[in-house]
């Protein structure tokens, strides 16, 4: 076999190896899309097809007429953006100090960041439930937002620290000599340059809050505080077989923010997670 044919054969073999694995990843999602476009009769058919015999958009139209579902999207959008903005706001100055200072408190903060990822959620949930209860903040957006912000701080802190460390100190000093105070320097000099990093960090807390389910289930009880995750949970609970197409449509809608944002920022996500874990 000459080298050129050998190369082609290798490439084809690799392709044959990757296709089943990629099918495992992609097919479930294609089935979700397909289910969301099916009619009630078809979703219950014993011979499911990947491409629906009759493509309909009624499931989506019905969802947008469902007041509780629309409310859940609004609520989730509100709490996720609130979490994103406030997490960045409290983490940025702290990340700046961590990046620039070498105090004794900083290794302690680092160790806690690492440990906090290892703590079982249930250990946190019961005391948080009691703390929020004593502050009259259970079943309220401020209460849940506080929990989400605290839970997102570790990752955000380390992501931001990496970006701030890469910002040249000379530029910072120049700004100070020109009379900027630290906040002015953040906003006018540092932020424009490290904006991609800050946005990345923000988007991870946004998606984290959008996807979160357990705290939402435990803390948010009243119907007007429904979130996308708890609404889907309710759909799953009540859906007999006949509503599986609606459930698929709702699930698909809940994936949209993640799909858009992860496809833009995927390469930063891995480094962010491992960065937070190693350092």
């Amino acid at each position: 076999m000459n080298p050129k044919t050998r190369k082609y054969v290798m490439q084809i073999l690799r392709l044959i190896a990757i296709i089943p694995m990629m099918a495992f990843i992609v097919l479930p999602f294609l089935i979700l899309i397909s289910s969301s476009l099916k009619m009630e009769g078809e979703i219950n058919s014993l011979n499911p097809t990947l491409i629906p015999n009759h493509i309909i958009f009624d499931n989506f139209i019905e969802l947008f007429k469902n007041k509780s579902f629309v409310l859940s999207i609004k609520n989730s959008a509100l709490i996720s953006s609130l979490t994103m903005v406030l997490t960045l706001f409290v983490s940025f100055p702290a990340a700046y100090i961590i990046a620039r200072e070498k105090g004794k408190a900083i290794p302690v903060l680092q160790i806690w960041t690492l440990l906090s990822q290892m703590i079982p959620v249930i250990t946190l949930t019961v005391p948080l439930y009691l703390i929020l209860g004593s502050l009259k903040l259970t079943d309220s957006f401020p209460g849940l937002a506080l929990v989400y912000i605290t839970w997102q701080i570790p990752t955000t802190l380390w992501l931001l620290k990496v970006y701030i460390s890469s910002f040249p100190t000379e530029l910072e000093d120049a700004a100070r000599i020109d009379g900027c105070n630290t906040w002015k320097m953040f906003i006018k000099i540092m932020l424009p340059i490290i904006l991609p990093g800050v946005l990345t960090a923000g988007i991870f807390s946004l998606i984290g809050a959008w996807n979160e389910f357990f705290f939402a289930l435990v803390f948010m009880k009243s119907p007007e505080n429904i979130l996308v995750s708890t609404k889907l949970w309710a759909f799953i609970g009540i859906s007999g077989q006949s509503r599986d197409n609606m459930l698929a449509a709702a699930s698909l809608l809940s994936c949209i923010p993640g799909i858009i944002l992860f496809s833009v920022f995927q390469k930063y996500y891995v480094s962010g997670l491992t960065e937070g874990a190693v350092k």
């Binding site: 990843i25 599986d244 699930s251 997670l273």
Partner: protein, 296 residues
């Protein structure tokens, strides 16, 4: 202090003020709750009935309930099978994507799909696939002649645990594969070339060059996977099988704490999970240290 220096250094007050919000939040909603959570595991706290220290009483009661062994057995099995499958799939995918392969960009983009799907949507998705009547899995397996009659995947105590495991594997592949891939891309080209010149076979290169390079990434990503699976609630609860076939510490803790108001029990489960996670990490870190010493 000279005038210039005052401009250039941050004073103590500023450092303190900048750290303050994060410290307040971490202390009040992270550190304090963890300490209180650990303590609650040693009390008979029950909603409406008050609390009181009761030592190891919770642990004996949980042991006697019979759920302790079963739930830890289940989670150990889930973690073990998931970790092995995730590792094998991710390492194959990352090696394939790191080499010359047609449509590489497309595969990398498709790889992130499981990431974008929120946990509860994952349940909805897999519930449809594993349906007994009209579910895609049964349909295709029947068509291919692999099974002769429909399997009740979720209702059968034997298969239910694999349904949960499948969802874990599906969800963790993107993160682990991309972690491996980014490490593989950092391996200097000349090392591989030197190995080839020395007459190493591809298998030897994989064993003695690639794998040692991946050690640290493997340790970190697998520890995170173990912790994610142990902390997962949605999949374990939402796709769980009949009876105790898929019962896990997390699900049992939720049932005890937030169904029956047994906060003491729930926290006791949390404490046992802390012990398990610490032991796993300890063993893993030691193993990794030994291995890297052996290589050098």
């Amino acid at each position: 202090m000279s005038n210039k220096k005052r401009w250039l250094t941050r004073n103590k007050q500023e450092i303190f003020l900048f750290l303050l919000p994060v410290l307040i939040l971490l202390i009040s909603l992270s550190i304090y709750p963890v300490i209180r959570g650990i303590y609650l595991g040693f009390t008979k706290y029950k909603v409406g009935r008050g609390s009181g220290f009761n030592g190891l009483e919770n642990y004996f009661q949980i042991y006697e309930s019979g759920y302790l062994i079963k739930s830890f057995e289940n989670i150990t099995f889930m973690v073990a099978v998931s970790v092995i499958c995730i590792y094998l799939l991710s390492i194959s995918l990352s090696l394939l994507l790191n080499g010359r392969i047609p449509l590489r960009g497309l595969w990398r983009t498709l790889l992130i799909i499981p990431w974008a799907v929120p946990p509860v949507a994952k349940i909805a998705m897999w519930k449809e696939i594993f349906k007994t009547m009209g579910g895609e899995l049964n349909y295709y397996l029947l068509q291919l002649g692999i099974i002769s009659e429909r399997v009740a995947w979720r209702a059968d105590a034997k298969t239910a645990i694999y349904v949960v495991i499948t969802v874990f594997i599906w969800g963790c592949i993107p993160f682990v594969t991309l972690s491996f891939l980014s490490t593989l891309q950092q391996i200097p080209k000349d090392i591989n070339e030197a190995a080839i010149i020395d007459g190493a076979t591809p298998l030897q290169i994989f064993r003695y060059v690639t794998l040692p390079y991946l050690n640290q990434t493997t340790a970190i990503s697998m520890s995170l996977v173990i912790i994610w699976i142990m902390n997962d609630f949605a999949t374990q609860y939402g796709l769980g099988g009949p009876g105790t076939s898929t019962l896990t510490p997390m699900v049992e803790a939720y049932r005890q704490g937030f169904r029956y108001g047994n906060f003491g029990y729930a926290s006791a489960y949390g404490n046992m999970l802390i012990v398990v996670v610490s032991v796993i990490l300890f063993i893993y870190i030691r193993a990794m240290n030994k291995r890297s010493k052996g290589v050098n």
